[in-house]
Symmetry: C2
Subunit: 418 residues, 2 copies
């Protein structure tokens, strides 16, 4: 059997290599679209959003009470209340037509517009109406108290959101607040998923003895969706150079996908074919052959022109771990976003049982997370990386760093949830 | 002004009250649908999935190498290698037609089907072909080594997934693996969002002086989507009992929504109208008037028949905090799922600056998260709860418990990201 020269690369280096060789601007620059803000959740902004107006646009009360000139209230106390003339009531949603002069107050509700002359609101709790037109005040208020200035939420010309930002519910609310009903976002990257291997059949087909249903295309397709990409399910390619080359050229030449994932077969023969084909499709070609991650070593990363192509290991556990480590961040970059692994959901737990690890590799261990007396415990699942059921049973992964030889039972670990 | 009797409830108690009064089974029992597994990410299973077969269904090699009878290899070493007859090669995806007898090996690739007679695989690294038909072995293998048994991933009749489970990428891969192309899931709850307040206008309308665009419907609509619900945007209701009652009856009587959120106005007058209407729509009516959360106190929770209705505070910050605290878990329950607040993404950080807090209330403080020398810091944003821009600037929230009076600068805090 051939013994390929594995140039094994730590995952950080793979990410650096991709960042170095990829022309991100060329990809994102051509991939923008305008969407309604109602459909913009989790999309990445392709424009800075500058407020065209002051928000709220008028001075508002933040309390139910009475608007007044703060200076008039100075000195008012429980023992020595002040008395004011009630000259009217602010109607919600309307500009008050009167002016508050010295010694006067106007009844106002939360969100009501402050009348001219007034510069503060006193909460009704600190007042008592003596009769229909007289109010007793038992506390002073400071100028500006209990009001929002007309430009306090946003100033006209102020940048509200910047390109590259991932839209959250509150961002969408703020866009509504300034009347921006559509935003320019980056298109979702299309990710082609091709399965390889003579033994792989589509899941709707009953496999013959020796055949197995395609698991990885479905795991990876859902992973692409989770990363806000669009999965394009390609065919299942038998282990023939021409077939794989034809399928890849279809996606490359017709510019159908931004990223291509090849997955499925795990044998050296299948990998050799992948390397051979990736080597002849275009420059710079294969960048990485082998990643220092366990499980996941037999990973191939190539770039053809400006299209990243991944040859993921065939074992379902390895394929998913490498996808999360290398492909998920890329899907985020190609839609103009950032990807910060540190921000993915993690829980601190105590390890139950010892875990061995090879130095020189990042080790990812599947664990079951459980809670006892308010404390989290992570129990390793030590099954083979060919078993999808181990991923189904697992709550997440713990990472054992390159220079760590293993972890002892009772160690504190961070469980990355999936 | 009227002074309503606030029965202020801690948020945990609100959740218990809802759990107690709601007939969850009645709602989820009628809301199931069958979807393709490709469309099933993040959906909640409404059925147990039992494997109809053994997976992989045949004994497979997990390595590239040679299949043999393990017993024949016992005693082989670098100094005293054993020699075997190579009788053929397993073709990927095919059932091998030969049988491995004592002293024989068969070339096999990862994923290949083990021939009859063989019970282990030796990796090619520990072998050398002497000629086309003779193999040298320099290591023994144990029975079962480097193979996956035919029922090792899943056994026929084994439960793979249970009802109530939220489908992740690997679950979908496993469903493909057993040929299950469709699954029964709970329908996404429909959540009606109604805005109230004379001052509120739709965001596409240019507000007059004293009017303000509807922010909350858009923040909450995106929040509903994030929780896997379907937002139904209702109208903006002026502060009239009849209008609000009519709008609510529309959603209730035509069974258009599982949950109704009323939001928008923040004045006592608007709240009074909400309470009045909720009190006359049906039993049990208003369950909670006031929640011991800051910001967010003026919250109303009602149940009309089996329909939960929330009157959220009008201030955008308060509305979002209460939505996350009370409505988000409910959206999960109503689609048959669980909701574990502890599993939401959090990051430990050091507090920058002191934060005061009222005892007797849960306090939620907006913070900006930043990293310096590999350490996270959380800087509080102390703006008014009426300012949506403070939520846009914030990376997340820190919770200050009911019995804590405040936090000192330098305290360790958990930032709940949003």
């Amino acid at each position: 059997m051939p013994r390929p020269l594995f140039k094994v690369c730590p995952p950080d280096e793979v990410i650096c290599l991709l960042r170095k060789h990829l022309n991100l601007k060329e990809i994102t620059g051509n991939r923008m679209e305008t969407v309604s803000i109602k459909a913009s959740l989790d999309r990445i902004l392709a424009e800075d959003v500058v407020s065209p107006l002051n928000l709220p646009g008028f001075t508002r009360s933040t309390m139910d009470g009475y608007a007044l000139r703060a200076e008039d209230s100075f000195g008012a106390s429980e023992n020595l209340p002040s008395y004011f003339k009630i000259i009217g009531e602010v109607k919600m949603g309307e500009q008050p037509k009167f002016r508050v002069n010295s010694g006067e107050v106007v009844k106002i509700s939360t969100g009501g517009m402050l009348p001219e002359g007034a510069n503060a609101v006193i909460m009704w709790e600190y007042t008592s109406p003596v009769d229909n037109s007289t109010l007793e005040l038992r506390r002073p208020v400071a100028p500006g108290e209990n009001i929002i200035q007309e430009d306090e939420d946003l100033k006209k010309g102020e940048t509200l959101l910047v390109a590259g930002h991932k839209l959250r519910p509150q961002d969408i609310g703020a866009l509504a607040g300034i009347g921006k009903m559509e935003v320019k976002v980056f298109k979702k990257p299309r990710v082609a998923i091709i399965s390889t291997g003579n033994e792989i059949v589509p899941p709707q087909v009953k496999p013959q003895r020796g055949e197995i249903r395609d698991i990885n295309s479905y795991t990876l397709g859902a992973g692409v969706k989770m990363a806000q990409g669009i999965p394009l399910y390609g065919g299942i390619i038998k282990d023939e150079v021409n077939d794989l080359e034809g399928e890849l050229r279809k996606f490359l030449e017709e510019d159908k996908a931004e990223i291509i994932i090849i997955s499925g077969g795990s044998s050296l023969g299948t990998r050799d074919i992948t390397v051979e084909v990736l080597g002849k499709l275009g420059e710079p070609g294969v960048l990485v052959h082998g990643v220092a991650v366990k499980p996941g070593k037999p990973t191939i990363v190539a770039l053809v022109g400006n299209k990243p192509i991944f040859g993921l290991p065939g074992h379902p556990v390895s394929a998913m771990i490498i996808f999360n480590l290398l492909v998920r961040p890329l899907i985020s970059w190609l839609q103009g976003g950032d990807y910060n692994e540190d921000f993915s959901p993690k829980i601190e737990a105590e390890l139950v049982g010892n875990v061995a690890s090879d130095p020189g590799k990042e080790d990812y261990v599947r664990v079951i997370l459980y809670q006892e007396n308010g404390k989290y415990y992570a129990k390793p699942i030590l099954g083979k990386s060919g078993l999808i059921s181990t991923l189904v049973r697992a709550s997440g992964l713990i990472k054992i760093g390159t220079n760590v030889e293993g972890l002892k039972s009772g160690s504190k670990v961070m469980v990355e949830l999936f």
